[in-house]
């Protein structure tokens, strides 16, 4: 029995060990092995491996740089020199490749920054894996509506009812509040929150203890930023007194670190939720919902199990309430996965994150295709080089490395340019995305960027590398071109693919623009233009002052009308199912949108009346009346509704009017049943309609008037149509970005086509010369050369149409009101692509065709 030492460790030893030591070390190791193997082969092998490992020391390792590596460096140098020579020789190709890859990589970089930011939003909390928000699925006539709001007492009750809950807090936001120190007034977003808010959300407290900061009603917690603005310094603020809304003093009990841009909580002021509980005591029960609930579940709690326990929870608190089901979902996921349809999570922002990542990938792919196409097309130019190298003994691998090296070199140069362009375009990109993105050159970013560049170079260069290196030297040097049909088809296929993507992008842009245009110009049923909206606060909260104020507002020249309301007209505000009419199904718990308004609101907003009248002071007892929209009347099935009586919250109300349907929510949702009542409290905010063209002057006068009524409250009005636009921010982003991307895709594809066309025309220069001499016109030659390109584009159009139809219709499905997909969207984008292609190819071939034939036939 002859056992030999393990093969691989021995090989490793021979590889790393210096030649002059090898005899001694290998000899000794083998001798030891031979002695040991007689006792126990297994042990001997293990010890041999161990000895090899122990011998792997600096002293024994041979020098790798001196000996055989010189060849590698020489080859690398050779490759780089040849690459630069070929760049210089074929400038157009090089520039097209460089420009294409640079724009592709810029796209990828920018999108990477954006995606990276989106993916990090709300993920930074210490207990992000068990931080949950409570939602409610509510059954409505139109399906299940997933609401974010819960009942006020829910947070405290869940803490006592469920042992799984570690900490829970309610939170309710009520817009902006003014804080005052001496003469300084600062307005910012505020929320009411439960005492465990800082235990649930691990926001760092610079001052104060998480357990105590919100413990009593006179405490206020502010952000470091707010502290700096108020006190000029964020330290030693605790214990100081600030005035809140000019009506109540609070003691600063804590200062928290200002939220990072990746937080969706961007409030500067937090006060105890007990205050809102006192203020809204009549609605602090399970029949009303306006508080959001967040909780930390104890480690190891299974959310699905917990949700099963929650199923009957609300029903156990309110008798007969079976259409509201509470459930919890991870709060850090809500930002990206926040869209629910019929009680099921159907995506959210993640859709756009994915969409843009895919688009960026495709643009890079288009650029890679350019590289591949141009390199293979120009292969004939480099055949001699390949032939000679092969004849001199170069192996195929060496050639593959050379061409891959060349493409990776282009990719790396492009990457550097792309970093520069990304840096230059970042401010613009930030405007479009509404983010504060920055390129930080950390290790991860650099490694990622380099990886992308190398992968891109590999992708773009691998086909040419394998293709070019495959020529046989003898045929190439004899001058025989071998052009396989397969190669031609591969190139055509890639062009078709490129243009198909481009056409899909053009169509998408057209559809997005058309839809956005429709959103802008759609008749909403009321007039949102020149309507100013500002909060009713401070002294104006008294009803009599409001009446005086409104009367004075209407006296300002240029003001058409003014009123106050609880509803901001941009989205769901508050609803109720506490409405009864004759013939209502007792199980129907559908909510009607509640618009509590003041006199003149419908006139201010220009909501049209179908029949009856609006609220009017001259009639006196309008507080017991009600007005519906057409949808509500239809839903209730009332005929001749005027004068009929329905019950709202148990009280009789007479219908005095019906208004035409109008959109108070974004056009994503269908119009819901709405009722108007006169608010006894005069509403949360004022709305003032201004004559067109006089906005500036009127706003100035309004500010003066506001200050005289409400000294110390900064006057910060907004225009209603701006708020309206705000509802479509995501869509606007899509339309702007897809516009940019589509143009980029067109430009890159066209550059590729330009390169190919130029090359084709050049190769057939002699043929063109002969044809012209034999009597062809320039037109015929241009036609001849463009025909094959036109065919490719036509195939691309045919392929692109179903894809663009699918993409466009699934995007439009998110809108309740949408444009019809007409055939001409597809037609126009196809024709556009064809026209651009013709223009490029035609121009290029025309240039070649109009060269005097004697010139092109004379050389050689």
């Amino acid at each position: 029995m002859c056992l030999s030492p393990p093969k691989y460790p021995l090989r490793f030893l021979r590889w790393f060990c210096r030649e002059d030591y090898l005899d001694e070390i290998e000899g000794d190791l083998i001798e030891l092995f031979e002695k040991r193997v007689e006792k126990s082969p297994g042990k001997a092998k293990r010890r041999f491996v161990w000895d090899v490992v122990k011998s792997f020391r600096w002293r024994n390792i041979r020098s790798f740089s001196r000996s055989q590596n010189s060849n590698y460096t020489a080859m690398l140098k050779h490759t780089i020199i040849l690459s630069f020579r070929s760049f210089r020789k074929y400038k157009t190709t090089f520039l097209i490749n460089l420009a294409g890859l640079t724009s592709g990589l810029t796209c990828v970089l920018l999108i990477y920054l954006w995606v990276n930011h989106e993916l990090r939003v709300d993920k930074f909390y210490k207990h992000a894996d068990r931080l949950y928000q409570v939602f409610e699925n509510r059954e409505q006539s139109y399906g299940i509506w997933t609401a974010e709001t819960n009942s006020g007492p829910m947070a405290a009750d869940m803490q006592t009812d469920f042992p799984e809950v570690e900490y829970v807090t309610g939170a309710a936001s009520r817009g902006k509040a003014t804080l005052t120190i001496g003469e300084k007034n600062i307005k910012s977003d505020y929320i009411y929150a439960g005492k465990d808010f800082f235990n649930v959300f691990s926001v760092t407290l610079l001052e104060g203890q998480a357990d105590h900061v919100l413990a009593d009603k006179s405490s206020i917690v502010i952000s470091a930023d707010m502290a700096e603005r108020l006190f000029g310094d964020a330290s030693n603020v605790a214990g100081k007194t600030v005035r809140f809304e000019h009506e109540r003093d609070f003691v600063v009990s804590g200062v928290f670190e200002t939220a990072p841009p990746t937080s969706s909580f961007q409030h500067d002021i937090i006060i105890s939720i007990d205050l809102i509980k006192d203020q809204y005591a009549p609605v602090w029960n399970y029949n009303n919902t306006f508080v959001k609930t967040y909780m930390l579940l104890k480690p190891g709690t299974d959310a699905d199990e917990f949700n099963k326990k929650l199923e009957g929870y609300i029903a156990s608190k309110v008798k007969g309430e079976t259409n509201r089901t509470a459930f919890v979902a991870l709060y850090p996921d809500y930002y990206l996965h926040g869209k629910y349809e019929n009680g099921q999570m159907v995506g959210g922002r993640i859709t756009y994150v994915k969409l843009f990542s895919i688009i960026a990938g495709f643009i890079l792919l288009i650029a890679c295709i350019n590289f591949t196409n141009l390199s293979t097309a120009r292969a004939s130019r480099r055949m001699k080089e390949v032939g000679i190298k092969k004849a001199m003994g170069s192996g195929r691998t060496a050639l593959i490395y050379q061409y891959l090296g060349e493409s990776i070199l282009v990719a790396v140069i492009s990457l550097m340019l792309a970093l520069l362009t990304a840096y230059l375009f970042l401010p613009q990109f930030n405007v479009v995305t509404g983010k504060q993105l920055a390129i930080d050159f950390d290790l991860k970013m650099i490694a990622g960027a380099l990886l992308i560049a190398v992968v891109t170079g590999f992708l773009a260069g691998s086909y040419p590398a394998f293709y070019l290196s495959g020529f046989s030297s003898s045929t190439v040097l004899k001058g025989q071109l071998h052009r396989s049909i397969g190669e031609l088809w591969a190139r055509r296929g890639l062009v078709i693919f490129q243009f198909a993507i481009t056409i899909v992008l053009i169509t998408s842009v057209l559809v997005v623009y058309k839809q956005m245009d429709m959103l802008q110009s759609k008749d909403l049923g009321y007039n949102k233009d020149q309507v100013l909206i500002f909060p009713r606060e401070g002294k104006l909260e008294s009803i009599s002052t409001t009446t005086t104020f409104l009367a004075e507002v209407k006296n300002i020249p240029g003001v058409i009308n003014g009123s106050s309301t609880d509803h901001d007209m941009t989205g769901h505000n508050s609803g109720t199912s506490g409405i009864y009419w004759e013939g209502k199904d007792p199980n129907d718990r559908s909510e009607f949108e509640n618009l509590s308004v003041n006199y003149d609101l419908m006139e201010t907003l220009g909501i049209e009346l179908r029949e009856g009248r609006t609220f009017d002071r001259t009639f006196g007892a309008d507080s017991s009346k009600i007005i519906f929209n057409e949808t509500a009347i239809r839903y209730m099935g009332l005929e001749n509704p005027l004068g009929k009586t329905i019950k709202l919250w148990g009280e009789d109300r007479q219908i005095i009017g019906v208004v035409k349907d109008f959109h108070f929510e974004s056009l994503h949702s269908a119009i819901k049943p709405v009722f108007f009542i006169l608010t006894g409290e005069e509403g949360e905010s004022f709305m003032v309609k201004i004559a067109a063209g006089r906005e500036k002057e009127v706003v100035g006068k309004l500010a003066e008037l506001h200050t005289s009524f409400n000294p110390g409250f900064p006057f910060e009005p907004r225009f209603l149509d701006q708020d309206y636009q705000g509802q479509y921010q995501a869509e606007k982003r899509v339309s702007t970005l897809s516009g940019y991307f589509a143009s980029l895709a067109i430009i890159i594809s066209c550059m590729g086509l330009f390169g190919l066309a130029a090359f084709a025309a050049e190769r057939r220069l002699k043929e063109i010369g002969i044809r012209r001499i034999l009597g062809s016109s320039i037109g015929q030659i241009v036609y001849m050369l463009s025909a094959s390109f036109s065919k490719m584009i036509l195939v691309a159009i045919v392929i692109a149409i179903p894809f663009s139809y699918y993409i466009a219709s699934s995007w439009l499905a998110g809108f309740a009101y949408r444009i019809d997909l007409e055939w001409w969207y597809f037609g126009v984008s196809g024709i556009l692509a064809l026209a651009i292609a013709w223009a490029i190819v035609g121009w290029q071939t025309f240039k070649v065709a109009s060269i005097n034939p004697t010139k092109c036939l004379r050389d050689e």
């Binding site: 030492p5 030591y21 090898l22 005899d23 001694e24 070390i25 290998e26 000899g27 000794d28 190791l29 083998i30 001798e31 030891l32 031979e34 002695k35 161990w50 000895d51 122990k54 011998s55 020391r57 002293r59 024994n60």
Partner: protein
């Protein structure tokens, strides 16, 4: 010339080279050391020490002939130099003189 220093393990190996005289190569040194000391030593430690001793000029080396054993690899024999011998002598003298200074105390 700088005073040459030598470590404990180096000294042991050097002593072994001197003791084995002309038959000292890696495996032989290893086996003798293990036998005398009664504990395991790794061969690579011996190799490194021998190289260091050679660098310091305490030993010189020569190759043996190729045989069928050891995978056809030659043995590398080490012989102590005059310098090495001198060092051992002085170490021995130093130790003996120090040892003799120990008072006669019983450690019973």
């Amino acid at each position: 010339m700088k005073e040459q220093s030598i470590g404990e393990f180096e000294e042991l190996v050097l002593l072994m080279v001197a003791a084995l005289h002309d038959e000292a190569y890696g495996v032989a040194i290893l086996e003798n050391l293990e036998e005398k000391q009664g504990k395991k030593v790794n061969i690579s430690a011996i190799h490194v020490t021998l190289k260091r001793l050679e660098d310091k000029g305490f030993v010189i080396s020569r190759y043996g002939g190729i045989t069928g054993e050891r995978g056809g690899r030659r043995k590398k024999y080490y012989i102590i130099t005059a310098l090495g011998k001198k060092l051992l002598d002085s170490q021995y003298a130093l130790r003996t003189s120090l040892y003799q200074q120990i008072p006669k105390i019983s450690f019973g």
